[in-house]
């Protein structure tokens, strides 16, 4: 089904790029099919996936040496100079 959907969405993108005069009967049939398909996707909870996706930021690459060099000791507790304590 995902391939069918991809094909259909690609077809819809092509239709959307057409002018009103260029839209033909096959395009209308494809539009009806698309919106029926869209409804079933929304019904199955996939509506959010239809939102435009933002590209995730690339992950930082870490070498094995870098990982081994990382300290595994517990971080120090904050010193009193970093903490404002109001005594009452």
């Amino acid at each position: 089904m995902p391939n069918d959907l991809d094909t259909l969405m690609s077809r819809i993108a092509t239709i959307n790029a057409k002018s009103a005069q260029e839209v033909n009967d096959e395009d209308i049939t494809a539009l009806i099919t698309y919106y029926r398909h869209l409804r079933s996707i929304k019904s199955s909870g996939g509506g959010r996936a239809l939102r435009p996706k933002s590209t995730p930021a690339p992950a930082n690459k870490l070498s094995l040496d870098t990982i081994l060099s990382l300290s595994v000791t517990k971080p120090k507790a904050p010193t009193s100079t970093n903490t404002i304590v109001r005594r009452i």
Partner: protein
Amino acid sequence: MINTIDERALTTISQSPFLPRTKIQFAWDSTSLGLFKECPRKYQYTMIDGWAPREESIHLRFGGEYHAALEHFDKEMALGIDREAAIFHTILKLVSNIWDWNPDRETKAGHYKNRDTLVSLVVDYLDHFNSDPAQTYLKSDGTPAVELSFRFELDWGPNNDTEMVGGNINVIEHEDGSLEEKPIQPYLLCGHLDRVVSFNDQLLVMDRKTTTTTLGPYYFSQYEPHNQMSLYILAGRIILNTPIRGAIIDAAQIKLEEPNAFARGFTYRTEDQLNEWLIDLRTTLAIAETYAIRDHWPMNDTACNNYGGCRFRSICSKSPSVRDKFLAAEFDKLDEDARWNPLKPR
């Protein structure tokens, strides 16, 4: 109290709904009447001055095309055309009408109401009511009762006791010698009925609505009492001369991430309720005439927060001396022809 006007007399030429050289409106529909009842100042800004919010055109276009598409479908079904073929023809016509329509989707209105959501809504509506228990009523001439324009002449008109109206009464002498006063220009009530249907052995007016509001009891409770529904039920009774008891609100909720939702609500009016509505109307129109003569439209500051806030709230909250500047900055002043006109045929 009411005289009907032959539907054939509804020409494509629209005239002004105001008496010449006055601000006295004689032709009223549910929209203009609703504006006046809600707030005379809102009525003034919209009907008299022609101010329109920039986004309003999106709502009007979306609603108009939605109604036109379903009207087309209803007519084809009434002609006995196969359902899938009628859906195809409906979407074909809709697409040809709206393909070049490209509202700004960055606005809230354009986000929910655009070419894609409109086609989606029509396809979903037609599939949702695949076996519709509401059947289009066929008029006595055999044509389906869809998109019926109506005009009633009331048996009273704007008063004749002012210089501005200039004597609006004709005195007619009957054969028996009795005299009858008739207004030269009576008030008219106008509008369009989306569809009259037979549902569970009763005739009802159907009115289609699109909204982004959840379709629950709270949504439907707004229609009882309701200016438009009372007028439409009255209109249905008069133009079809049939005992129409109420109206179906055929509501469609536009949803972006979930399937569009559809629900129908029912509202009924008794004979007494309709008579009361007409009696109240007489007083309302007299008040409107008084405001028009004084050219002063008082603000109803208890209605500013209705329905999520009046479109003119940001204007009315300013000092009177600067309101015109803010109106010009935030609204479009429509040409006379583009303004809401109850006499304009659909």
